[in-house]
Each structure stands twice: as structure tokens, then as C-alpha cells.
């Protein structure tokens, strides 16, 4: 880490890839949870409805997503930008997830009913680890911030998409192993986070054109 504060911030080194191995690049999960809870509380105080709150959280995450894209792409030292739909989705569900949450997303699925919809599934999303949604806010997912991050990453890469977060119950036996993010002492989570990614039509037609 450069000690002289007169170095231009843009000239400072970005650090190693991965970013989890050295002590300087982790904080405790509780610290993140406290900051995130204050962010949600702040927006909740200013939003009139559930969808407005979700929109605020998503736009809070959007800017973060743009920056995360730059950092992750730089650190992965890819020499080419991703131009194909499947490759950008793989990039998001593995590289971006690994750098943000320490492990790749648990699964990436394509929707059967809609060709433009994909789902990224995370069994232990850290944003909603310590959040309980009261019944009168039923549809809200605390991971709206993360879906904003994903939308930022995809938009920055040229694949505009609408990303929403949903909490889906985990079936019996669907997921038994305790992931890297499981907090010791807490019971296993009853619901997983599903991030529904709906690409815009021009992205799909562009991808189809590239196929030929």
C-alpha cells in the first residue's frame, strides 16, 4: 500500500487478484451487515412503498456494479471483453461472485418459459444473512442491493438487463452442504436468493446475430 498520500488515487496499485487471501482486503461480516442495515434503514425512511424501496436499493447497487465490473475484469487479466451472453453470465456468476462473496454462485440456470430470462442462485447471500422481512413487507427481498450490483455489471459490459431478487424456499434436501458464507451458530437458511436476469431484446438479437 502506498504510504504517500500525495500519490494520485488513480495511480495506486489495485492489489492482487482474488483479494481474499491477504488480510488487508477483508473485514468482518458483521461490519458489512451493520453498514448494509443502515443503508436499508436510510432508504426505507425515504421510500413510500415496497417497490420504491427496492428501486432505491437497486440504484444504490448500480454504481457499485459498474466499479466492480472494472475491478474484476482488470484483475482477471482477460485480454478480451466478453461479448457473448453466456460468457458474461459465467463471468458474473463465477468471477464477480468470487471476488464479492468469496465463492462462485451456486448455480446459473436458464428459464424454460422465457428465452431472455436467466437465474443466478445463491444459497447464502450475505446481504440478507441478518435480515428478517416482516410480513407486511412480504415481497421485498433484502438482496435488491445485490441485484443492483449485477445490473450495474451487466450494463457496464454492454448487456442491459433488468435484475430482480427473489427469496425462494429451499426444498428439503436440495442443499445440504454448509457453504463458505455460512455463519457458525446460526441455523441453516430456509430460503435461497434467486436473481432473475431479464435481458433487453436488443441484447438477445445481437447475440443471435453473433451466433451466425
Amino acid at each position: 500500500m502506498s504510504r504517500s498520500s500525495s500519490t494520485n488515487i488513480l495511480d495506486r496499485p489495485l492489489g492482487r487478484s482474488g483479494g481474499r487471501s491477504s488480510d488487508g482486503s477483508v473485514v468482518s461480516l458483521s461490519a458489512f451487515a451493520y453498514i448494509y442495515s443502515e443503508l436499508v434503514q436510510y432508504h426505507q425512511g425515504r421510500a413510500a412503498s415496497i417497490s420504491e424501496l427496492e428501486r432505491r436499493l437497486e440504484s444504490a447497487g448500480y454504481g457499485v456494479g459498474l466499479k466492480v465490473l472494472e475491478m474484476t475484469a482488470y484483475r482477471a487479466k482477460e485480454t478480451k471483453r466478453e461479448t457473448r451472453l453466456m460468457s458474461i453470465l459465467h463471468f458474473v456468476s463465477s468471477s464477480v461472485w468470487k471476488s464479492l462473496f468469496g465463492k462462485a454462485a451456486d448455480s446459473l440456470e436458464r428459464s424454460i418459459d422465457h428465452t431472455d430470462e436467466f437465474m443466478i442462485i445463491d444459497y447464502e447471500p450475505i446481504a440478507s444473512t441478518f435480515v428478517s422481512i416482516p410480513p407486511d413487507l412480504g415481497q421485498l427481498s433484502a438482496d435488491a442491493y445485490v441485484s443492483g450490483i449485477i445490473a450495474g455489471v451487466l450494463d457496464g459490459a454492454g448487456f442491459s438487463a433488468r435484475v430482480t431478487a427473489h427469496s425462494v424456499n429451499v426444498e428439503e434436501g436440495e442443499y445440504t452442504k454448509q457453504g463458505a458464507n455460512a455463519v457458525p451458530g446460526l441455523p441453516p437458511r430456509k430460503d435461497k436468493a434467486v436473481f432473475l436476469v431479464k435481458f433487453s431484446p436488443e441484447v438477445l438479437s445481437r447475440d443471435a446475430a453473433l451466433e451466425r
Binding site: 500500500m1 504510504r3 498520500s5 500525495s6 488515487i9 483479494g19 481474499r20 488480510d23 488487508g24 482486503s25 477483508v26 473485514v27 468482518s28 461480516l29 458483521s30 461490519a31 458489512f32 451487515a33 451493520y34 453498514i35 448494509y36 443502515e38 443503508l39 434503514q41 436510510y42 432508504h43 425515504r46 444504490a60 447497487g61 454504481g63 457499485v64 466499479k67 466492480v68 475491478m71 471476488s99 464479492l100 462473496f101 468469496g102 450475505i126 442491493y145 458464507n181 455463519v183 457458525p184
Partner: protein, 203 residues
């Protein structure tokens, strides 16, 4: 001094046991919060107050987690601070270490032992942050008056309030403004009587 190394070792042990999260995501999330505040309040002094208030709310809750984890680890020192000096060591060496993984130093004790400073070399909140240069021609608010890490002041004030110590915290030096390290000045105002009152005293 033995309590100094005890606190440091305790801090290391507590840090090792905490589940971790990415520090950059943490810094970016805080940045998103500050950006939102600046957009809504515009006046940097008001933003500083809001950050302090938010920090206070965090401090009130994190002290419970800290005390319970320190207790479980068998480190009674967290509950047995005999003097402000011990409290300062515990806050800096255990508290900051456990939550942020940051190495904080204590010093600058005043002659009446009622205030001290916490020195933080690397501030996890301000990774990637740069304050815009003061620009009178723009006519906007001078964001150099913004105390970006004012959250810490609120956290320390809130946490110590829960253990009956009323303190005032200020950011004295800030690396974002060009100083060589971050310094938070903590002043003890008074030791409060037990808040619950006579009704809750055990028979």
C-alpha cells in the same frame, strides 16, 4: 504493559473467529450510503451529523456483539476495564481489530486521563475514496468539510454510551485531507449512573 498485549492478543483471536466479508464491497457500500446522503442533504456539515447519527445506531448494537463474543472467548478483560486507559486499549485493539481487521493504536492521553486518541493508519472505509479539491468557482458546497469517516465517531459514542460512558468523539486528522494518518479524539464527558434505575435492581 501487560494489559496492552492482552488486548492485542484478544483482538487477534476475536478477528480470527469472525466470518469475513470482502472489504471492497464494504467500502463501496459505505460509499454508496455517503453519496446518497450528500445528494439528499447537500450541506457537508449536515452530512457529518447524519453519519454520526448512523454510526451511533450501529455502535449501540455492535457493542452487544462485541461483549458477547469477547465473553465467550473467555476474555473477561472486556468487562473489567478499570480505567479509561483500559477502555481505550479494548476499543482500539479488540473492537477495531475484531470488526474491521484494522490495527489501531491508542495514545495522546491527556494529563487528567479523560481523553485519548485512536490512531488508524489504514482506514477500510476510505479505500478508493478521494475528496474533491476545494473549488470556489463552482459555487457548490465545499466537500472538503465532509468528515468521511465520521461513522467511527458515532460508533464509538454509541458503543461507550451503552456501557455508561458518555463521550465526545471527533475526527482530528484524516488521510483523505492529506494528513499522514487518521486520528479520532475521544473525550470522556461523564460516567453515567446505571440507566435502568431502582426498579430493576435485583432484590
Amino acid at each position: 504493559m501487560s494489559s496492552k498485549t492482552q488486548a492485542a492478543q484478544a483482538g487477534q483471536a476475536l478477528w480470527a473467529k469472525m466470518p469475513k466479508a470482502n472489504a471492497e464491497l464494504f467500502a463501496l457500500t459505505y460509499g454508496s450510503l455517503v453519496t446518497e446522503l450528500v445528494r439528499d442533504y447537500e450541506d457537508p456539515i449536515e452530512v457529518n451529523n447524519q453519519l454520526e447519527r448512523i454510526g451511533h445506531s450501529i455502535g449501540v448494537r455492535c457493542v452487544d456483539e462485541f461483549l458477547s463474543k469477547a465473553d465467550v472467548a473467555g476474555l473477561g478483560l472486556a468487562t473489567q476495564c478499570g480505567s479509561l486507559r483500559d477502555t481505550a486499549e479494548v476499543v482500539a485493539k479488540c473492537g477495531f481489530k475484531m470488526f474491521l481487521g484494522a490495527n489501531a493504536e491508542v495514545g495522546g492521553f491527556s494529563p487528567d486521563q479523560k481523553s485519548f486518541s485512536i490512531y488508524l493508519q489504514d482506514n477500510p472505509l476510505s479505500t478508493f475514496v478521494e475528496l474533491p479539491p476545494a473549488d470556489e468557482s463552482v459555487g457548490g458546497d465545499d466537500l472538503r468539510k465532509l468528515k468521511y469517516s465520521n461513522l467511527y465517531c458515532g460508533v464509538i459514542r454509541g458503543a461507550l454510551e451503552q456501557v455508561n460512558l458518555k463521550v465526545d468523539c471527533n475526527i482530528v486528522r484524516d488521510t483523505l485531507k492529506g494528513d499522514d494518518m487518521n486520528e479520532i479524539r475521544v473525550e470522556l464527558k461523564e460516567v453515567l449512573a446505571d440507566g435502568a434505575g431502582d426498579d430493576y435492581k435485583e432484590e
